[in-house]
Structure formats: structure tokens, C-alpha cells
């Protein structure tokens, strides 16, 4: 039997325009879903409050240390960022696909004229917009407070720190989306996301310390292993911006500065970009083959 292709009278845009359109629609839906998630809102509020609180503390101590208000705040925020932002991003990512699969919504979405790549990338972009928006609020409120009370001296490293934080958030979100694509249930996805968070924030450092002692790792090996962790990459990049030196990080920091010099920033950016691209590509590969049931 032969069958010529049929089209509707008002066919929607195809090609790149159609792709961009579907991406935008799915992203907006995901953004609205994220903003109505209590878990996400609580995380964002906690981060915002901590950022503003730290700004007050930094302003109170201004003049005591050699750092400006922005520098002190950024230094103080670094630990919060490394703790809170990965948790926010991983759990937000873990909620993107698994929950909708469980509810049957994923099948319904895929039954519409959209491709799987459009659905997954749209979900990532929507969740990323929500995440970056909440970071903008936290950093923005802090920056306004500092500029109002203490001037804009030292704002450049603070802005760079915000940029690296966004990269960290996007990379952890990509890992969360991969977890969500792989897990069959949303509860399992969130559980794995929390485990990954614990591993990256605590266990990796402990493992590195133990590995250094047990295997007598050389300093370049220690640096390579440390920098493979996106949290460490973000930390090094931020600290380099704040102090222009990584001697505070010990031998690995000194090695990094002496060996890579000006290229270190590029290496750290590449590591963070890799943590966005690789998990996202893996998610796409799995999502395009896996049953949405």
C-alpha cells in the first residue's frame, strides 16, 4: 500500500523554529512547576536568608579584616554555596522526569507533537531558570545590601563567584536530571540525589585524604582527583578570584597555581562545563531509548 504524507491545515513550525518553540513551552511549564514546589521554595528561601545574613555579619566586621564587605561576604558564602546549592540543584533535577513518569504525565507529554529531546532539554532549561532565578535573588539581595552600606569595592570577585556558582548549579542540575531519567520512582531519584550530594560534599574529601595517606598520591594526582569534583572546581575558581592565590588550599593549590598559572581558570571552567554537558548528553541518550512507563 502506498500512503502519501498528510498534514494539517495549520501545521506548527518545523525545524529549528519548531524545536525552539517546543523547548520554550516545556521550559515554561517546568519553571512554573519548580516555582510551585515547596521543597524548592524552602531551599531558595534558606539560601537567600543565609546570603543576606552573611552580608550583615560581613558589614559588622568591615574594617577588622583586610577584606572589603564583598570579599568577606563571598568568602563566607562559599561554604554555604558548596553545601546548599548542590542540594537544591540535585533535588530539583531529580524531580524533573521521575515524578512525571510515575504519575503518567510523561506519557501524556510524549503523546503530544514534541520530540524526546525537546521534552528533556525543555525540562532542564525550565529547572535551570528557576534555579538561577533563586541564586540571583540570594546574591542580588546580598549585593544590594553591601553596595548600599559599604560601597562597591571588591564587587568584581563577587560577580565572578556568582558566575561560578551558576555553573556549579547547572552542573549539579544536569546530574540530577540524569538521576531522574535513570530512576523509576521519584522517591528513589531524590534518595540517590541526596546520596550523590553527600558523596560530593563530604565523602569525596574524606576519600581523597584517605587515598593520599594510603596510596601516597603525588601532588599532581591529588590535584587531578580533587578538581574532578565540581564542588572543588567551583571552590578553587572562586578562591582564585577572591585571593588571586590558592596557597590556602595547601600543596594541591600551590601546585595548581605554579603548574597551570593563568590556564587554571580555563581548566576549572572546562571541568564545570564538562559536568553540565556530559550528564546532559547521557540523560538525552538514556531518555531517547528508555520507555516512559
Amino acid at each position: 500500500m502506498t500512503s502519501a504524507a498528510m498534514t494539517l491545515r495549520s501545521s506548527p513550525p518545523t525545524g529549528l523554529r519548531g524545536f525552539a518553540r517546543s523547548l520554550r513551552v516545556v521550559a515554561i511549564k517546568e519553571l512554573v512547576d519548580a516555582l510551585s514546589s515547596r521543597w524548592f521554595l524552602v531551599n531558595a528561601a534558606v539560601f537567600g536568608l543565609l546570603a543576606v545574613g552573611l552580608s550583615f555579619v560581613s558589614l559588622a566586621g568591615a574594617g577588622v579584616s583586610g577584606l572589603s564587605g564583598f570579599g568577606r561576604t563571598a568568602a563566607g558564602m562559599l561554604n554555604i554555596v558548596l553545601l546548599v546549592v548542590p542540594l537544591m540543584a540535585l533535588t530539583a533535577g531529580a524531580a524533573t522526569v521521575a515524578g512525571e513518569r510515575e504519575r503518567g504525565m510523561l506519557v501524556y507529554m510524549l503523546a503530544q507533537p514534541v520530540s524526546r529531546a525537546e521534552v528533556l532539554l525543555g525540562k532542564y532549561l525550565g529547572a535551570a531558570a528557576a534555579l538561577v532565578g533563586s541564586l540571583c535573588l540570594g546574591f542580588g539581595a546580598s549585593a544590594i545590601l553591601m553596595a548600599w552600606r559599604g560601597g562597591t569595592d571588591g564587587i568584581q570577585p563577587f560577580v565572578a563567584f556568582f558566575f561560578f556558582t551558576v555553573l556549579l548549579a547547572l552542573s549539579m542540575l544536569a546530574v540530577g536530571v540524569l538521576i531522574s531519567v535513570l530512576a523509576r520512582r521519584s522517591g528513589v531519584a531524590v534518595g540517590i540525589a541526596v546520596f550523590v550530594w553527600l558523596t560530593l560534599t563530604l565523602l569525596t574529601d574524606l576519600g581523597l585524604m584517605a587515598g593520599t595517606l594510603a596510596f601516597r598520591l603525588r601532588v599532581e594526582e591529588l590535584f587531578s582527583l580533587a578538581v574532578a569534583n565540581p564542588l572543588q572546581a567551583c571552590k578553587m575558581a572562586a578562591m582564585q578570584q577572591m585571593h588571586a592565590s590558592l596557597d590556602i588550599l595547601g600543596p594541591a593549590g600551590l601546585y595548581a597555581m605554579q603548574t597551570h598559572g593563568e590556564h587554571l581558570r580555563v581548566i576549572l571552567l572546562a571541568v564545570l562545563a564538562g559536568w553540565i554537558v556530559v550528564p546532559l548528553a547521557a540523560s538525552l541518550a538514556v531518555f531517547s531509548r528508555r520507555s516512559p512507563l
Partner: protein, 306 residues
């Protein structure tokens, strides 16, 4: 409108040598059929016969072996184009309970590039005017299915796929939905629907494909349906709660799809072999507290898949 011809009809949906497995279970096993433009075809069979799987394959949301085309578009290679021609009504609308009907309409309208004004008239067409501001959880089962129908009709697609659209509805809700579907059929829509309700099939279908264990065993007119019916029934087994998972594993190991829905384990049993699942469980050292055969009209809403 273009398309291949089936008798005097243009072919809207063509399914050829369709096979689909879920692990060890063959959900669909070599199914071929065509649906002509303006024709209404029912997929009839017990739970687990393969009805829902076939519909999901036609939509291209699950991978399969074989070939399916909609309006001449291969659903795996040109899935978006094929799905533009299809409206889909699931067994139950899966939108988040807090989502408003209007937001659901806007989402699907955006995906289908339909003007919002047209989209809102779709609500009127199914008698849901004034309901755009209501949350999904505030809608009754019948209203949800009418909303699902409105969403399926948004871009005025030439074909509608319905997966047991009345399975969750009471008598009055069922009658409403069936009446709307009959009007759609009269308006020239192609309809492919899964059902195990004889009255629904009789009211809507031009042709009935009888499915058993993933195969088409008959292709008949709906007025000949009453005498036959599927040769499988759904059995609900109750075992001690702690043994639920072990029981499901034991049944699946013997190739029986199982659904654990919180009220018991549901399996499909063939006439003349109803003791099979009980024998398997007893053999695995699992106590069977109770069992019952569900009447066809009360059978579960989802197909039993592994």
C-alpha cells in the same frame, strides 16, 4: 487529504507486524491492521490483551518492532508529524491536581501551536465553559475526561486515540463521553479506541479487533461482539501483605503479568486454567488468603504489565 486506500477508504492508521515485549512478556505479538479515514475501530480484549500497548505504540511513545504510520508519517522516524494528526485521551488525565484546567489547555495549545482563543472554545465544545479557573482536583471524573477530550481536540486533529476513556466513570459520565465520541465520529474523525465495555463498542465502533495475549484473534462487526467476548478474565488474589512482593515475583517468573494495586494482585487467567496462579503461589510457599474473578465491567483501568 492524501493517503493510501483501504477498500473505498483512505488509510489513516497503518500498523504492520507490530511486536512489543516488556522483559519476558510479549505484550503485542505480530499485530497488523489498518484504520480508514473516518472509521471507528475498537480494540477489544481483557486486561493484558495488549490494547493500551498498541495505542502507545501508535503514538510512538514506546519503542517497538514493526512499522506504524499515521497519515503516511512513520511514527518512529517522523513522530512529531504523526502526533500532530492524533489527539489522545488517556484512561485518566495525569495533570497535577493543583493545575488549573485553563493552564492545561494553554500548555497543550502551545505545544500544538493552536491560538488560545480556539483553545478556549474547545472547553465550550465539551460543556466545560467557565471551568478554566478550576483546579484539576476540583473536577469530577466525567469532567476530567471531558477536559481530556477537549485537549485531544485542540488542534482539530483528524484522528483520535482513546485508551478506555470511560473506565473511571459512572454511568452518566460514560453516557456523556460516548455521546460526544459518536458526534466526533459523525463529524468524520478517525477513532481508534480501547475498550472492554460492550455498550461503548456497540455505540461507537464500525469494526472490532478482538485481542488475546497480544494477538488479533478476530476482526468483526460490533453486533457480533456479545456472543464472543474475551476468553480471559482478571483474577484478584489476596496474600499476606509481607508476601506481596514475593508473590508478584513468583507469578512473573511463570510468565504471568501482575498488577499490584494495593487491593491485591491482579492477573489474567484463561478460561479452564483459573487455578494456575493459585497453584504457582502455593508451590512457592505463599499463602493465598482470598481470590475473586472481576467482572469485565469492573476490571482494572490499566493493562497488566510487568
Amino acid at each position: 487529504m492524501q493517503g493510501g486506500k483501504k477498500g473505498s477508504l483512505h488509510v489513516m492508521i497503518s500498523v504492520s507486524h507490530l511486536r512489543k515485549r516488556f522483559g519476558r512478556i510479549r505484550a503485542v505479538d505480530g499485530v497488523s491492521f489498518e484504520v480508514g479515514t473516518g472509521e471507528a475501530v475498537a480494540l477489544w480484549g481483557a486486561n493484558g490483551a495488549g490494547k493500551t500497548t498498541i495505542i502507545r505504540c501508535v503514538l510512538g511513545v514506546v519503542r517497538f518492532d514493526g512499522r506504524i504510520s499515521v497519515g503516511g508519517h512513520d511514527v518512529l522516524r517522523r513522530g512529531k508529524s504523526a502526533r500532530h494528526l492524533l489527539g489522545y485521551v488517556p484512561q485518566e488525565l495525569a495533570f497535577h491536581d493543583e493545575m488549573r484546567a485553563g493552564a492545561a489547555i494553554r500548555l497543550v495549545a502551545s505545544l500544538r501551536a493552536t491560538p488560545l482563543a480556539d483553545a478556549m472554545t474547545a472547553l465550550e465544545r465539551v460543556g466545560l465553559e467557565g471551568c478554566a479557573g478550576r483546579r484539576v482536583r476540583e473536577l469530577s471524573g466525567g469532567m476530567k475526561q471531558r477536559l481530556a477530550l477537549a485537549l485531544a481536540l485542540l488542534a482539530d486533529p483528524p484522528a483520535i486515540l482513546l485508551d478506555e476513556p470511560t473506565s473511571n466513570l459512572d454511568r452518566s459520565g460514560r453516557d456523556d463521553v460516548v455521546r460526544m465520541l459518536v458526534e466526533l465520529k459523525r463529524a468524520g474523525k478517525t477513532v481508534l479506541f480501547a475498550s472492554h465495555r460492550p455498550e461503548e463498542v456497540a455505540a461507537l465502533a464500525d469494526r472490532v479487533l478482538v485481542l488475546e495475549r497480544g494477538r488479533i484473534v478476530d476482526n468483526r462487526s460490533p453486533d457480533r461482539l456479545g456472543a464472543a467476548g474475551p476468553s480471559f478474565r482478571t483474577m484478584r488474589l489476596r496474600v499476606p501483605h509481607a508476601q506481596n512482593d514475593a508473590a508478584a515475583t513468583a507469578l512473573r517468573a511463570e510468565g504471568l503479568p501482575v498488577e499490584n494495586n494495593g487491593h491485591g494482585l491482579c492477573v489474567n487467567v484463561a478460561h479452564g486454567a483459573k487455578a494456575g496462579p493459585i497453584r504457582i503461589l502455593v508451590g512457592a510457599g505463599i499463602d493465598v488468603d482470598d481470590f475473586e474473578l472481576l467482572p469485565l465491567s469492573d476490571a482494572h483501568d490499566q493493562e497488566i504489565l510487568p
